[in-house]
């Protein structure tokens, strides 16, 4: 063990020497993040639409989503252990819970904050409920909805490191190993790629957002 030793830049060599492991950890990390955000979208978007249509549901749904956000992910991992065991599945579960709130809140607020005048105009032109949602409210809310998805993604890239506590793999493996041994190159070999992943996600999704936002509100 090199106690606190080693040139920090050695982490690049460490990644090179352990390329197979690195690629496996990276792919586990990306899978955990992507899947959790996709499932998060599938759950949160319909809920947000529901909440925007039925006022009574808005508060309770927000509370439930907020609870999911506040319960520490480590606690979720521990609580789910008897049901989901260890490894990939419970890690995915904990991350999905975390993805729901930012996506739900942004989508709900986005839909609700559509200009009243625009809604009135649309209704005056004879749109029905579904048309109003699909052709007016959702398109206008796209930037806000997309910002929620972006937040969830960047957040979960960081949180996915927790999977290393329950055999879920990912780059957290190296972070925890580096921590346990105070071996900075190993620690950085895990931490730096996580940071780069987060930045990459932020930048590319920013670009994608510009593409998906309807021309009229760009």
């Amino acid at each position: 063990m090199r106690i606190g030793g080693g040139d920090p830049l050695e982490f690049i060599d460490y990644i090179r020497e352990n390329q197979d492991v690195f690629l496996r950890l990276l792919s586990e990390h990306v899978q955990l993040t992507l899947l959790s955000v996709l499932i998060g979208i599938a759950i949160a978007l319909p809920l947000a639409v529901l909440a925007s249509r039925i006022d009574l549901l808005a508060k309770p749904l927000t509370w439930v989503a907020a609870i999911g956000q506040t319960v520490p992910s480590l606690a979720v991992l521990a609580l789910m252990l008897p049901f989901l065991g260890i490894g990939f599945r419970p890690s995915l579960f904990a991350l999905t819970i975390r993805a729901i709130l930012p996506i739900f809140l942004n989508a709900y607020v986005g839909i609700r904050s559509t200009d009243r005048a625009v809604v009135d105009a649309a209704q005056g032109m004879g749109t029905n409920g579904a048309q109003l949602l699909l052709m007016v409210e959702l398109p206008l809310a796209t930037p806000v909805i997309f910002a929620g998805i972006q937040t969830a993604t960047v957040q979960n890239i960081g949180l996915a490191t927790l999977a290393a506590y329950i055999g879920g793999g990912g780059l957290g493996d190296w972070i925890l190993q580096g921590l346990a041994m105070v071996d900075y190159p190993v620690l950085l070999a895990g931490a730096v790629p996580v940071a780069l992943l987060a930045i990459t996600a932020e930048v590319t999704m920013g670009g994608v957002r510009r593409l998906v936002v309807p021309e009229g509100i760009r």
Binding site: M1, R2, I3, G4, L81, P82, G85, I86, G87, A164, Y165, I166, G167, G169, D173, L176, Q177, L179, A180, M181, V182, D183, V186
Partner: protein
Amino acid sequence: MTALHRTMRHLGRHGRALLVLTSVVAMMAAVAPASQAQDGTTVTVGSKDFTEQVVVGELLSLLLEDAGYTVERQLNLGGTAIVHQALVSGEIDTYVEYTGTGLLAILNMQIPATPMAGATPDMASPSAATPAASGGTDAVYEIVSQEYQSQFGIQWLDPLGFNNTYTLAMRQEQAQELGITKISDLVGVAGDLRFGATQEFLTRPDGLPGLTQTYGLEFAESQGMDPGITYQALDTEEVDVISAFATDGRIPALGLVTLEDDLGFFPPYFAAPVVRQELLDQDPQVREVLNQLAGLIDDQTMADLNAQVDSEGEEAEDVARAFLEEQGLL
């Protein structure tokens, strides 16, 4: 001066009284630590982040408190390297380390005269393994004592008695089914078995890297996880073999079996307090207080104490206190 006067006038009578009171309190606070140091030195006790470490950390703390020291507990700090660094930098004064861990993980040295990591598996001479467990014990203690003193200015006190060696554990039924009692029995079947271990074990030289080399083992997969979760994962059949500590109370509690280290790969891990030399110079009595524990705790006793915390849900401090009272040390 005028500025001060003006300020004082601004404060009014109550304000001035408050100012005087504050200064008195501040003066008392400044004096207090000095008078305390005369009564008894403050000793900071640390520990690693698993049950046994917290229990022995409490043992040290309670004995020191009983001898009149003020003890600050920094238990459950983290893994080996973190606690070691805290000791070297003087943030803690003492914790309990294991000889083998000191030798291999901290000093990065090899076990004297035994087949160690790097050696090829040598099934033909199992006799070479025995000295690792018996003869090597004193040798390892000697080496870590000397090296810690010269490299870090840290003293090893007398060993507590137990040897908390690393071991591999399996579920009893599966071990019986496959006819596995020792680690070399795993060689043929490891390819069908899943291995779970702490992240530390996966990287330590006296962990999986050395073990696989010495025995020629190749598990189907190995997953790293939190120490506590390894036992749970084994119990719920998510993994088949885990890294474990010989004195862990959960081994009997969960009906697990440990595998004999028939090639003598794991070094002896006798536990002993390590103390900063500076503290011992300043207050030589610390050594006598802590050495009351010398040879007092054998493997079985330590496993029992651990089980009281892990399986019966008792507080580490209560378990430690009850043990010391039973021994007539409190």
